[in-house]
């Protein structure tokens, strides 16, 4: 019986030391887990980092992934976050083609609707910063693709439990 494939968010607290990201990401590869996104950054404590990992998998895969991650000596805490009680954010920078003045004003209007910001303007392009849930970013990208996307950079998600 195959269980359902879902997107899981795994939040980990790890030692803030060189090589820790390599050890974790190498473990995923060795154990044949497929990472959807991974983001790493400092926490409120200087000696600790937070790694936020999203993977598409079934329940058994996620359980095994959590166990294998917890086994790493540099990993202090692993939690699977439930979507209802989690604040999830991603940042994307999107560079769009701008062919004329109308396109430019349309893009700026849409950006406002998405509560995103224009961060750079050049003669042939405009760059927008979008922050939000991955769904919101996907929606913006769908819309933006009608103008022609030159480049995208996405951070992968970062998340915290509410409250």
């Amino acid at each position: 019986m195959k269980s359902r494939v879902m997107t899981y968010i795994i939040s980990t607290i790890v030692e803030n030391k060189p090589g820790v990201l390599h050890k974790a990401s190498n473990m995923f590869r060795c154990r044949d887990f497929n990472i959807d996104s991974i983001s790493v950054g400092p926490t409120e404590r200087e000696d600790l980092s937070r790694m936020t990992i999203t993977i598409d998998g079934d329940k058994a895969t996620v359980e095994q992934l959590v166990k294998q991650l917890s086994k790493l000596i540099d990993v202090l805490k692993v939690s699977v976050l439930s979507p209802e009680s989690t604040v999830v954010r991603e940042l994307a920078l999107v560079k769009l083609h701008v062919t004329d003045a109308k396109a430019r004003s349309d893009i700026i209007n849409y950006a406002n609707v998405f509560r995103s910001r224009v961060v750079d303007v050049a003669s042939g392009s405009i760059t927008i910063e979008v922050t939000g849930s991955p769904d919101k970013i996907d929606a913006f990208l769908t819309l933006a693709s009608t103008f022609g996307i030159k480049e995208i950079a996405r951070t992968g998600i970062t998340a915290l439990v509410r409250g």
Partner: protein, 558 residues
């Protein structure tokens, strides 16, 4: 606080860990440590290849239960260790490997004999360290030994840049370790214990599957008591061989691809399976989907990630096996009366009888016969190491082991060349016990240069080469499943008697079983390494056998 060099701190820290012996091979990037080692009381055993050095430390660790220490230089020294480290990792052997590294100022510059051994060994070590300052060495060593020897044991590598070995610093040697990300859970959860007890008290056809974890946690006596209380037959995994005396009425022998006929049959008839310290390896279970489909499975392991990794189980318990089995036994002993006989035990005897004449053990120098006769002349506590291939599987099937830590073999990685250096390590750990390597000619050729070590260091082991001039196991597969189309398995005939003598060992080439026994008896009294070359037929197959990808029910008996 005391001022000393990194190299001095390393040796001092090893003293504090009660290290008696280091297996190693020097080179440019580890000379500062070797310079200090020269004046230390720690014995150094000079290997002739780093792979062997790691296997020696591994054999030492498995025979003694202590941490095995091996050492090599940077670059090729370190990469040659890799096979031995991977071998220890797969079989959960406690090991600390020390490598030299180019100075920190040259790291990342592709310097002479530089290699990223931290990157290379990340997937095959429990953890690894590269201290960047001499003052980090004492604590690093303390942590490395703690990690290597506790929880599920395994290898830890410490890579020491040359300047870190040379630099002096104020050293603090800690008495305790504190690693915040490492807290193995020794005691099982009481709720889970209750569930197991419920299942076991109701079991009508219980069976115990004992793995290497039983040996690692010294839980053999508890395992035996548990089996007797439940009147549950015990099958072992290959790594668990020796966890119960194989002449015990409840011992069914090793299970799996080359498992005993009764083990492979009876495990499929059990209603409750108590799997202790095992990882459901493909070589043990056969086709995993068919393995114990209708059996309630209990799995005990110190490593939570082993639970549910290969097989979904009904009741998992995480804990040290000795502690967990003690808890289970104490509770069960109050609830159950010890049985002398029942229907299930009758079935065990019936199956034994059924298979008694089904397996052909040959005569004369046929390996099964030879190994049975060898068992008769060896003391019970003799340590057997094996190489990998047919020799290993014959030893597993036909050489009965009576005590834990007396059967030492490369299980997970299946490393040819393991047995001989491992036998040297085991003999260093247990100098008063006979140590024999059951070898094949193919494997022995991979590390036979360790003869130089065993002779010069006066470590008298006995090597029995079942010599079929072939890569025997591959040849068996090609015979059975590739229409006898031999491809690259014929090694040619070599005279290992002469090879042994060239190194200063005793060498014999054997013509009959009587001669073999006579030579073994005299080798047991001898104080020099003995190589016994036994020509066997290249047509010999190992049976029983479960073809790769098939289930245990598809066992072929001859």
């Amino acid at each position: 606080m005391v001022k000393m060099s990194g190299a001095q701190a390393l040796i001092e820290a090893l003293y504090k860990e009660k290290v008696e012996v280091i297996f190693g091979l020097p080179g440019g990037a580890i000379i500062p440590v070797y310079d200090v080692l020269r004046d230390s009381k720690i014995r150094h055993i000079l290997g002739r290849h780093e792979q062997s050095v790691a296997h020696m430390a591994d054999g030492y660790a498995r025979a003694s239960g202590k941490v095995g220490v091996c050492m090599a230089t940077s670059g090729p020294g370190a990469t040659n260790l890799v096979t031995g480290i991977a071998n220890a990792y797969m079989d959960s052997a406690p090991m600390v490997a020390i490598t030299g590294q180019v100075p920190t100022s040259l790291i990342g510059k592709d310097a002479f004999q530089e290699v990223d051994i931290i990157g290379i060994t990340t997937p095959i070590t429990k953890h690894n360290y590269q201290p960047r300052h001499a003052s980090e060495i004492p604590n690093t060593i303390k942590m490395a030994f703690h990690i290597a020897s506790t929880g599920r044991p395994g290898p830890v590598l410490i890579d020491l840049p040359k300047n870190v070995q040379n630099d002096t610093a104020d050293m603090i040697f800690p008495n305790k370790v504190e690693i915040r990300g490492y807290k193995p859970n020794k005691f099982p959860h009481t709720l889970q214990v209750e569930k197991v007890i419920k299942l076991l008290t109701k079991a009508e056809k219980p069976i115990i599957m004992a793995g290497g974890g039983i040996i690692l946690s010294n839980a053999s006596l508890k395992l035996q008591a548990m089996a007797e209380l439940l009147l549950a037959p015990v099958v072992t995994t290959f790594m668990g061989k020796g966890s119960i005396p194989e002449n015990h009425p409840l011992s069914l022998g090793v299970l799996g691809m080359h498992g005993s006929a009764e083990a492979n049959r009876l495990i499929l008839e059990a209603d409750v399976l108590l799997a202790a310290g095992i990882r459901f390896s493909d070589r043990t279970t056969g086709k995993i989907e068919e393995f114990c489909q209708d059996t309630k499975i209990i799995q005990i392991d110190i490593d939570p990630s082993e639970i549910g990794k290969n097989k979904t189980v009904d009741v998992p318990i995480v804990g040290d096996l000795n502690k967990t089995l003690t808890m289970l036994y104490d509770s069960l002993a109050k609830l159950l009366e010890k049985k002398e006989d029942n229907l299930w035990f009758k079935r065990v005897r019936q199956i034994r009888e059924e298979f008694k004449d089904k397996i052909d053990q040959g005569e004369g120098l046929a390996p099964p016969n030879l190994l049975k006769k060898l068992r008769e002349v060896l003391p019970h506590n003799s340590i057997i190491t094996t190489e990998v291939g047919q020799n290993q599987m014959w030893a597993s099937l036909y050489f009965k082991v009576y005590e834990p830590r007396t059967f030492i073999s490369s299980g997970g990685l299946g490393t040819m060349g393991f047995g001989f250096p491992a036998s040297i390590g085991a003999k260093v750990a247990k100098p008063d016990v006979p140590v024999l390597d059951i070898a094949g000619d193919g494997s022995f050729m991979m590390t036979s240069n360790s003869l130089a070590t065993s002779i010069s260091e006066k470590i008298p082991v006995i090597v029995v080469i079942l010599n079929n001039s072939m890569l025997g196991m591959v040849a068996q597969w090609q015979r059975m499943f590739y229409k006898r189309r031999y491809s690259a398995v014929e090694l040619g005939a070599y005279n290992f008697e002469k090879l042994a003598k060239a190194f200063g060992a005793q060498g014999f080439r054997i013509g009959s079983l009587e001669e073999f026994i006579k030579v073994v008896k005299s080798a047991l009294k001898s104080e020099v390494t003995t190589v016994i070359d036994v020509p066997i037929s290249p047509e010999e197959n190992v049976f029983p056998m479960v073809p790769a990808g098939k289930g245990l029910k598809d066992t072929i008996y001859r």
